[in-house]
Amino acid sequence: MLENFGYIGIFLVAALLFAITMITLPILLRRFRIVPKKPNPVKSSTYECGMDTVGKSWVQFNFRYYIYALLFVVFDIQVVFVYPWAAAMGQLKLFGLVEMAVFFLIVIVGFVYAWKKGVLEWK
């Protein structure tokens, strides 16, 4: 099992090295005078292509997004139960299936309620 996680570790190290290389490579190329330095206002603007931004980037988001975050958390907790259940599905047989069906039925009542109340609609 730990060997498999070791592969994840290798992937992480590779991703980290890739990110560091991508940042340091242009700096090093510039330092060794391999690439020329010819800046102009368009080139050194933050958004070389696309529209200029208006106002601050820190804006207060609509609080309505929060209900989606809360409902997502409920789904997330459900996944924590479903994941081991799915891993042992072969041994749990029909009893496990019924158990999980009851679990989902109870929670789905809440989502039906949310739907009926129109919480998920965007006005």
């Binding site: 099992m1 730990l2 996680f5 570790g9 820190w58 207060q60 988001f61 609509n62 609080f63 309505r64 997004y65 929060y66 209900i67 975050a69 809360l70 409902l71 997502f72 958390v73 409920v74 997330d76 907790i77 459900q78 996944v79 924590v80 139960f81 994941y83 081991p84 259940w85 891993a87 042992a88 041994q91 749990l92 009893f95 496990g96 158990e99 009851v102 679990f103 989902f104 109870i106 929670v107 009542v109 809440g110 989502f111 309620y113 949310a114 109340k117 919480v119």
Partner: protein
């Protein structure tokens, strides 16, 4: 093995300190995510694979998302938290808690199990939780009722009148 643990431990402690000391609260939240990830890595090193997955799912997936949402919904976050009037009291409470934790951790007689850890842990855990004879079927369904209450409570709190 040992090396992996120490790397993860150093990163987690450093990111936890960054959470406390950074002025920008959004960056602090991102360091909190890093801290949660390294804790998951420590669980992997300790052969607790399901716990690591649950840590990533719940802490990184749910709690960090909630915290970041809350920051994005708040006004004037880049200014950071103003230095409160309760700084000294908070420091005293925190220091007391730290001392208590250190005393408990060093004073406890930790029992070390000699048998090898079961792996992977997910399937045995599911059988312990869901099996008909010695499982926890009723608490599991009550957890569903708790989630239902959470959904309805969230709707009642957030919905506009």
């Amino acid at each position: 093995m040992e090396i992996a643990f120490w790397i993860l431990a150093v990163i987690s402690v450093a990111s936890a300190l960054a959470v406390v000391f950074l002025r920008n609260i959004f960056r602090a939240a991102l360091f909190l995510v890093l801290c949660f990830f390294t804790i998951a890595g420590i669980y992997v090193v300790l052969h607790a694979d399901f716990l690591a997955a649950a840590q990533v799912l719940i802490y990184v997936g749910a709690i960090a998302v909630l915290i970041i949402f809350a920051i994005m919904l708040t006004r004037e976050t880049p200014r950071g938290s103003p230095s409160g009037r309760f700084r000294l009291i908070a420091f005293l409470v925190g220091a007391t808690f730290l001392v208590a934790m250190i005393l408990v951790v060093t004073g406890t007689d930790w029992q070390v199990i000699t048998e090898a850890p079961t792996e992977p842990t997910t399937s045995p855990l599911a059988q312990a939780l869901f099996s008909r004879e010695e499982g926890f079927v009723l608490p599991f369904e009550i957890a569903a009722a708790l989630l239902l209450a959470a959904v309805i409570g969230a709707i009642a709190l957030v919905r506009e009148k």
